[in-house]
Amino acid sequence: MPAYDVNGKVALITGGARGIGYETARQLHQRGASVALLDVDADEVREAAERLGERAIGIAADVTDAGALRAAVAETVEQFGGLDIAMANAGIAPPTTTTIRMVSAEEWERVIDINLLGVWNTVRAALPQVAERKGHIVVVSSAYAIANGMLSSAYAVAKSGVEALGRSLRTELMPLGASAGVAYFGWVDTKLVRDAFAKPGTDRLEKNAPAFLMKRITPAEAGASVVRGIEERSPRTFAPKWWRYISAMRGLLNPLFDKRADSDPRVRDAILEAEALSQASTNDAPAASR
C-alpha cells in the first residue's frame, strides 16, 4: 500500500479540463478519489467532469481570483465532505516568444498573475482543509524553473517562484502531518506546448536543442508521475524523469550553459529575430487602426 492512499480522498485540480491536470484527475479518480476539476471555461470543465463519471464535479473558476477559489473549495467541501489533495496546475505559456525589452508589459504580467499568483491563490484557498486533514498539495513548476528563460522570461520567472513556494510549503506543512510536492515537467504533448511551438520564433528551439531534450511525453505519463508523487508524498516529481539529474546538477551546469548561450550565434539570431518580429507587430498595430 502506498504511504498515502488516495482511495476515498477528495482532490481539487486547477486547469483540470485538459492536459496534465485532466490526466492527473482521471488517474486519481481511477484510484478511488473524488475530484473537483477547476478551469476557466464552464462548459469545458463540466464536460471533463462528466467524462470522468461519478465522484467528479466541474467548477468554473479563474485562478487569478482568490475569492472564486475560496468558493470553489467551499463547493468541493459541500459536495464531497472535505478536501485532502490540491494540485495548483493551471498555467499559460507566454502568448509571444520575445524578449523582456519587447514584450508587452500587460502580457508579461498576466503570465505571472496566472502562473505564480494563481498558484498562491489556490494554495491559500486549499490550505485550511488540506492542513486539517493531513493531506497533500502539488504545485506545478517546470523544467523552466531550472533552464534559462530567454524569450520566455515570464514563464521561467513564475515557475521558479512556484518552486520556491512549494519547497517552503512542504517544510511548513510537515509538522502538521500534511505535505507538499513540486512537480517539474519538461515538454509534455499538451495544448499549451503545441500552441507554444506554433508561435513564430519558437521553431528555432526545436532546431537548436538536442533531440532528447525536445522529446515530448504524453499527458498520461505526466499525470502518472504526479499521482505517484502524491502517493509517496514526494518532495519533487520529474517527468521526464531524467530532469531530476539536470536539477541536481543545475548549480554547476547553469553557469556553463548560460555562458555558452552568451556567445552562441544561434541564440543571438533567435533573439534578434524575436525582437524584429515584435518590432514589426508593434508597427502593424497602429497601422491597422488608421
Binding site: 505564480l116 513564475a158 512556484v162 509538522p175
Partner: protein, 289 residues
C-alpha cells in the same frame, strides 16, 4: 582597466537612500559615475544624494508604480543626458515571520509586488536606454533564491523569480553589447536585516544555522562586490563570496537540507510557534471590534 569602466557613466539605483543601494551608489560615484538615488521617501533620497556629493540626484519613486519608474528614468536622462547602468535593488523583507497558512494574504502579496514586480518595472523603464548605450543592469536577488523559504516564503519566492529574470535578461542583452548581473547577498548588516532579526520568531534562524552562515558583512562590502561585478560584467555577484560554492552545489544540497529541515525539532517547534503567534495576533486584532 576594467572591462566596463564606470567613469563618466550614469547609474540609477532603486532603494538607494540606505544600505547596499546607497553604498553601491557611493562607490560608483567615487569611480566617476553620476548617480540617480531613487527611494520611496523624497527627503531621504535627496539627503542621500547630497551626502554623496555632486553629479547626483535624489528621486522619490515607488518601484511598484511602473509610471513612476519611467518618470525617474526620464528625470535622470534629463539631468545627466542618458542612462548606462541600472540596479534594481529596492526590496522588502516580510513584515512578519509566518507560514503561508497564517500570513496575511495582503502582506505576502505586497512583498512580491515590491521584490518581483518592482524589479520588473525598474528593468523595463531602464531597458531602452541601457540597451542603446550598451550598458549594464543589476537585479538584486538573494541567497534566499536557493534557500528553503519556510516562514518567509514571499521573500524566497520573489528572489527566486528575480534570479530567473536576471539570467534571461543577460542572455537577451548580450547580442546588443549590453549586459546584466544577478546579485546574491547573504546577511548584510542593513536596516532590513536588523529589523528582521528583531521580529518575534527570528531567533530560530540563529539557533539552527551554523555561525559562519550567520556572520554579517557590511553594506560597504556588498556595494564593493556589486561595483566589481559591473566593471567585469559578471553574470553573478555573490557577497559573501563563498555563497558561490553553495549556489553551485544547490541542486545536490537542497534536497538533503530540505529533508533535514522536515525532521529538525527546532524547525518544527519554530513553525508551530509562528502559527500560534499568528493565531494569537488574529484573535487580538478581532477583539477590539
Amino acid at each position: 582597466m576594467p572591462a566596463y569602466d564606470l567613469n563618466g557613466k550614469v547609474a540609477l539605483i532603486t532603494g538607494a537612500a540606505r544600505g547596499i543601494g546607497f553604498e553601491t551608489a557611493r562607490q560608483m560615484h567615487l569611480r566617476g559615475a553620476s548617480v540617480a538615488v531613487v527611494d520611496l521617501d523624497a527627503g531621504e533620497a535627496r539627503d542621500a544624494a547630497e551626502r554623496i556629493g555632486e553629479r547626483t540626484i535624489g528621486i522619490a519613486a515607488d518601484v511598484t508604480d511602473a509610471g513612476a519608474m519611467r518618470a525617474a528614468v526620464a528625470e535622470t536622462v534629463d539631468k545627466f543626458g542618458w542612462l548606462d547602468v541600472a540596479m534594481a535593488n529596492a526590496g522588502l523583507a516580510p513584515p512578519s515571520i509566518a507560514t503561508m497558512r497564517s500570513v496575511s494574504a495582503e502582506e505576502w502579496e505586497r512583498v512580491v509586488q515590491v521584490n518581483l514586480f518592482g524589479v520588473w518595472h525598474t528593468v523595463r523603464a531602464a531597458l531602452p536606454q541601457i540597451s542603446e548605450r550598451k550598458g549594464h543592469i543589476v537585479v538584486v536577488s538573494s541567497v534566499a533564491a536557493f534557500a528553503n523559504g519556510m516562514m518567509g516564503s514571499s521573500y524566497m519566492t520573489s528572489k527566486a523569480a528575480v534570479e530567473q529574470m536576471g539570467r534571461a535578461l543577460r542572455t537577451e542583452l548580450m547580442p546588443f553589447g549590453a549586459g546584466a548581473s544577478v546579485a546574491y547577498f547573504g546577511w548584510v548588516d542593513t536596516r532590513m536585516v536588523q529589523d528582521t532579526f528583531a521580529r518575534p520568531g527570528a531567533s530560530v534562524l540563529e539557533e539552527i544555522a551554523p555561525d559562519f552562515l550567520m556572520k554579517r558583512i557590511t553594506p560597504e562590502q556588498a556595494g564593493a562586490a556589486v561595483v566589481r561585478g559591473i566593471e567585469e560584467r559578471a553574470p553573478r555577484i555573490f557577497a559573501p563570496s563563498w555563497w558561490r560554492y553553495l549556489s553551485a552545489l544547490r541542486g545536490l544540497l537542497n534536497p538533503l537540507l530540505d529533508r533535514r529541515s522536515e525532521r529538525d525539532p527546532r524547525i518544527v517547534a519554530a513553525i508551530r510557534e509562528a502559527e500560534a503567534r499568528s493565531e494569537a495576533d488574529a484573535t487580538t486584532s478581532a477583539t477590539p471590534s
